[in-house]
Amino acid sequence: MNEHEHPGATAGDPAFTPNPDNPIPNWPDRPNWPGPDLPPIDWRCIFHGPVSGRYEGGTGVPTILGPVLDLRVDVDRRYANSPVLNKLSGDIYRWRFGGKFIGPIRTFIESWIVDAPTVRWQRCKVEISGRVRYWRGTHVTTDLTVTIPFSSFSTGPATATFTTPAGSTTYVCAYRSNCFRHMKLETDFCASLPATPQVPSYDTTWHNNRPPGTAQRTLTIEETYREAGIDVTIDPVHTTIDDSAPGFASWSPAELHDSMEVAFSQMSASWPRWNMWGMMAGQFDNPGVGGIMFDAAAAFGGAGEAPERQGFAVFRNHSWFNDLQAGVPANQAQAEAMRKFLYTWVHEAGHAFNFLHSWNKSRPNALSWMNYDWRYDDLNGPDSFWGNFNFRFDDEELLHMRHGDRVSVIMGGDPWSSGGHLESPAEAFVQSDAAAPVELLLRSTGYVDFMEPVNIELRLRNASDVPVEIDARLAPEFGNVAIFIRRPDGRILMHGPILCQIGDAVRHTLQPLRQDGANEGKDRYSELVHLTYGGGGFSFDEPGDYQIRAVYDALGIAVSSNTLKLRVGRPMSREEDRFAADYFSNQVGMTLYLGGSQSPFLSKGMDQLHEAVERFRDTPVAFAAARTLAKSIGRDFYRRADNKPALVRTHQADPGAAVALTAPALAFYEQTPLKAFNLPYHRLVRERALLLTQEGAVDLARKELLALRKNLEGRDVHPPVLADIKAFAERLEPAAAKAA
């Protein structure tokens, strides 16, 4: 939806306002004013600024202890050169009593957003309403109506009423600012650098390469962020960092972080908080780096010390700033240097708001502070970035910064690189309430070979003191588990099943784990979920790093999982790479999904799996292919053949062949004592036991089961699981195969 659309309001609605961009002052100038589609003029409301901005207030309960709402209204133009995003969002806090020495403490509870509010402008007020989407946990359906009165002399207070089936809660919030969030920046400078300029100040018309019609204004760090909707204030107190040590030439991320630890006045305060530290230094270890937000994981090139996103550095001795001068530039080179100086400060602070680079968010053509000019030019022609750039963040970034989940935006909150999640499905990568009665854990080996099927263990564990009932059907097919996958290119997709299964919940009670260790094992329940192939095709068909998260929602319990990192290896040979083109086909995908098939429609898929077994012997790819084939070979297959009405058996079970196919996998699991293999090992032995029983080799089946039990006992598997294996072995009899 673009910023001019308002669902729910129509031209025939007397409350309809056709243009949300600061409509009030312009109304009398409209040619059709007053007209049938617009409310009549009220002199008290003619001259007035926007209603958008930040409001704050409580529920009116006559006590200082209670909820507080930080409300953000983004429905009309609040500031020049600042897009309207048509959103409502907010953070809910609660005042708590921290003891007689601490007094009341304001504690953050949660954030929410209304994605597509309906906006109705009326004579002296605006009414904004919509469905609330919370960023964390699960809530009952909640609708919000915000009413903001305005006059020529004042705005607000905003009345925000949250309505659920259980009732409603109303907050009365005073207008605070025309910005949505605020941040205090502390800037420190190295002694070796020129005294001025310390911070950028750039007139948008200084450089000739600019978009036609660029609005003339002077951009500073504060002004740039104010246009984005963030009220940035720069601390007037600065520390000078003595960088004159003999032999010191350049900064590493670790040295930058250490310098922040010493110089940043807010370092010892509690985090997260809306504070940021920026240092102007001489040169980075790599002199090609003009600035760095160093406070991120070491794997990303940062210092690797949490909490993250607290500080950044700009390197004055980079060649970008060779011509940098304070004041009005004497030539284009000086103008370019100041423009780059502004860019670098704004860009690095943007990283600390949790922004990735534009191309890492699949937006290489974004005209944003978070893109590189030369990367954009490579795609669009020389000098095209600055010739088109309007000195702003792109809309997705504005959405994140203004209205994103507080913990993913605020400095010291979520780790860096989680900033792209507003583009993802609403439930993806949310965090569940810490007080959820069960814990959902995802586990895997952490690494799979290229083309190896991906199976993830989903484990629910009772985290409460009382028995908890769960639905044991832990798979997306049953609609009670949603699984989100972040691919190496940053795209997030929801793993959709091929088949949907409807049925009653399989109720299973998780016992609480007692302090004496009793009930150990009975407090948890696991299932192995196949994620290789789904409604969107193969989910893991590219080498690289994936992140997986699941949300369980059944029987009144909703909980999200940890984020599981999974790395998919590269093809090890040209032969493997070539084979992959045939392997990642719908036929193979469906064959894997269905656990093998003797249908002639999937014969190519089965052929490919046979080929994988032959080509990649003694590898996980071959083991998985063999197991899929074995399941299909080991059972009869019936179908309607030759257009005859009756089903006929077209494949006779061959359990001996199936057992032989999976022998190498069994040997591998027996000799590889990894926890992540416990479930597939367990499952394989049970499958083989049934096949062996079909063959009449019950003794051998029991022998493999008892070996499994013994091996798992040494791999810390809980006693109830071991007891179940023993019971399964004892139950085996020649007829058991069919029953099972």
Binding site: V289, G302, S319, L356, Y372, R570
Partner: protein, 100 residues
């Protein structure tokens, strides 16, 4: 002497890179991984040979990928190497790349 600066940028993931000039191995780097904070994995600086035609070849043996290109003989040259869509792509320019 002019500089040949080879910037191994996006798409590297625990890779080994071999750099050859006119068929002669001049540099080899292992465990290259792109740092998303800055957008590069490694920058390799070489002196340009004093000759008219220079052929740069970059090989990623683990991936069975390679690419080559002619490098201007005069002045400093900056080569961007990126892996995208399973391809190794090279591009040369006369201005340095900047990272932030």
């Amino acid at each position: 002497m002019a500089v040949l600066s080879i910037h191994l940028q996006e798409g590297f993931n625990d890779d080994t890179a071999v750099i050859r000039l006119d068929g002669v191995e001049r540099a080899r780097r292992a465990h290259l991984t792109t740092k998303p904070l800055l957008g590069y994995a490694e920058i390799v600086e070489l002196q340009k040979p004093a000759q008219a035609d220079i052929r740069l070849e970059l090989v990623l043996p683990d991936r069975d990928l390679s690419a080559s290109m002619a490098i201007p003989a005069s002045g400093d040259s900056f080569v961007a190497a990126n892996i995208a869509n399973g391809q190794l792509q090279l591009a040369v320019r006369s201005q340095p790349f900047g990272y932030a």
